[in-house]
Symmetry: C2
Subunit: 357 residues, 2 copies
């Protein structure tokens, strides 16, 4: 039997609020069969009727009413100052208080990250949380981080991200010995900025629950060259948005091509089953769920425009992280990494002392 | 009648050397009708017979024999030191000496950039050259730079890139008033690294042959939100490779989908004309030709794995830059920019002096 877990849901986040969040919870519950409980934070008058329409969901859910919410364009600093009674903040507070095991929100990313950092804090040994997500590739799925939480990252932080990603790939995605690559612009060791070369030196030396592959380039992400791609939040966010953009453009061109002649229309009709399966393979809804890794609490961000199916996937991402005890394993691995780093620093110190001048 | 121009070709660069470079020159010549002359640098024993097979090309071509060439994995520093008699170096020297108007090579990017910088030098007022290329979007083509010449770029350099890109869009791509965006991870003014915010401040103030749009995100590239996307070489190279990777993955998935059933195969056969047109719209060969902008001489890099058609496109990119007098126009615009910047600095100085403390 699955262990029981409770998910705090920011019912007011995203473009559709409870209209998507409540049925998505129902869908996730049916997908899982059992084991999930929900606390919905938001407007009871909107959440209540939606819950009543789904008795199975209603039986495992409660509502924490608030009429405050964080606007999509609210600055993180403003959300921190004046959002204390918002559905987003209260849902995060529930994780901190131990009333929930995780929180899922489709609200404003900046506000969610700032609030989650303030309330949940980082795991011991982690300097900065990262946003991670899973991507389809020609060889299985790949997890990439950071996707936008940190503009710049030094070598120590990139090494921590490697551990965060490797533990995810191992415990949640089930890869025995995950390979980890650092996103760079050339595969030769000499290339790239200092912090990448320093991070490569650390990851080549220390033991962590993955195997350091070396540098990878932008096209390696979709090739599935490695199980985990590590980068700073600026580069990761650009890569994510470029990939989304190329996907949308290709879809657009494909649609135009299939509408361009009678033959093409007939062809598309004949191939419709195959095209639907293709669409499913790269469905952004399936891959929805930005994980805020490195926090002392599980927090998952859904894309704001997601429908019921998409939001249900983000809920399942949170449920998997909790069920696999992701944070406990990460805390353990980070402690190991720190011990090795201090040992390494100690040895380097000794070497320097005894080295001939 | 078109003016006559001479293109120096590194016949030994790329995966196929003269077997691609010589017929590509023939193709470019036929595409243009007239006006092109070529000097082939490389192994006469391989180039000669290929030229003899194309009398029209042979009539406008000469061979500069050398048996030295730069290896694909040669480090830029080694290429500079020991590559003085290489086909790549001699082709660049020909531009410096005025024997050719431009140079095209499919050789090693790092070596080509380092050699071109050393030999040709930057245009007055330009601190660093950038690699620029044209991309298909849902709304016409977009030019993006830098794609890998500079790991990091300060605000002044990014502003120069904006001018380099805008002059390209205006004079070569024929856009009346090109819009220029700075690649960032959020469209709000507060977001992003300092150098991007400083560059935005400069570009919002000065007059240049384009219109500053503001910040754009990764997905704006393929949307065609702006005519020119400006970024540093690290981010630009990742974006380029991610786009290539997603394109390849989609093509791979599409092929698999069309082979997955008899219906799908029939559908693909019926839609084959439309699918071919689609392929042409995003053909990397059509968009081949990385322009090294900002140098005092036209230098274009072809992808190393390109076929004859692809390499011919890179030759035509060089021919267009020469024909439109790109470098003269850039030099003029950069001088204007510098005058405005020094005026701006002067005014700011005065303001600071008279400002109440």
């Amino acid at each position: 039997m699955t262990n029981q877990q409770t998910i705090a849901l920011d019912a007011m986040g995203g473009d559709f609020g409870p209209d998507v969040v409540v049925p998505a919870a129902g869908l996730a519950l049916r997908e899982r069969g059992a084991g999930l409980r929900f606390i919905f934070f938001g407007d009871e008058a909107r959440i209540g009727p939606l819950l009543a329409a789904d008795p199975a969901l209603n039986a495992v859910s409660s509502i924490h009413h608030t009429d405050k919410m964080i606007a999509n364009d609210e600055k993180p600093s403003a959300a921190l100052r004046s959002g204390k009674e918002s559905s987003m903040r209260l849902a995060i507070d529930a994780v901190k208080a131990g009333d929930a095991d995780s929180v899922v929100s489709a609200g404003n990313t900046g506000a969610l990250m700032a609030t989650a950092k303030l309330v949940l804090k980082c795991l011991p040994g982690i300097n900065r949380p990262a946003i991670a997500s899973v991507f389809p590739t020609t060889h299985g799925d790949t997890v990439m981080l950071d996707l936008g939480a940190n503009l710049t990252c030094d070598a120590a932080i990139l090494s921590q991200f490697a551990v965060l990603g490797a533990v995810y790939a191992k415990t949640v995605a089930g890869v025995e010995k995950p390979t980890v690559g650092l996103l760079n612009i050339g595969s030769e060791d000499v290339k790239g900025p200092d912090q990448l070369r320093e991070a490569a030196a650390i990851l080549s030396t220390v033991e962590f629950p993955g195997e350091f592959y070396g540098f990878v380039e932008g096209n390696d992400i979709t090739k599935g060259t490695v199980n985990v791609v590590v980068t700073d939040g600026f580069t990761g966010n650009v890569a994510l948005k470029v990939a989304e953009g190329v996907g949308q453009m290709t879809g657009h061109f494909l649609k135009e091509a299939f509408m361009s002649s009678l033959f093409a229309k007939l062809g598309a009709a004949l191939a419709s089953g195959a095209l639907k399966r293709l669409k499913k393979r790269v469905d952004p809804r399936f891959y929805n769920g930005g994980m805020f890794l490195g926090l002392d609490g599980i927090c998952v961000k859904s894309h704001g425009g997601m429908d019921t199916y998409g939001f249900s996937r983000a809920i399942l991402v949170a449920a998997d992280l909790v069920e696999q005890g992701y944070n406990k394993k990460v805390a353990h691995e980070i402690a190991q990494l720190m011990a090795q780093e201090s040992q390494l620093a100690h040895e380097n110190g000794k070497t320097e002392e005894t080295a001939p001048s």
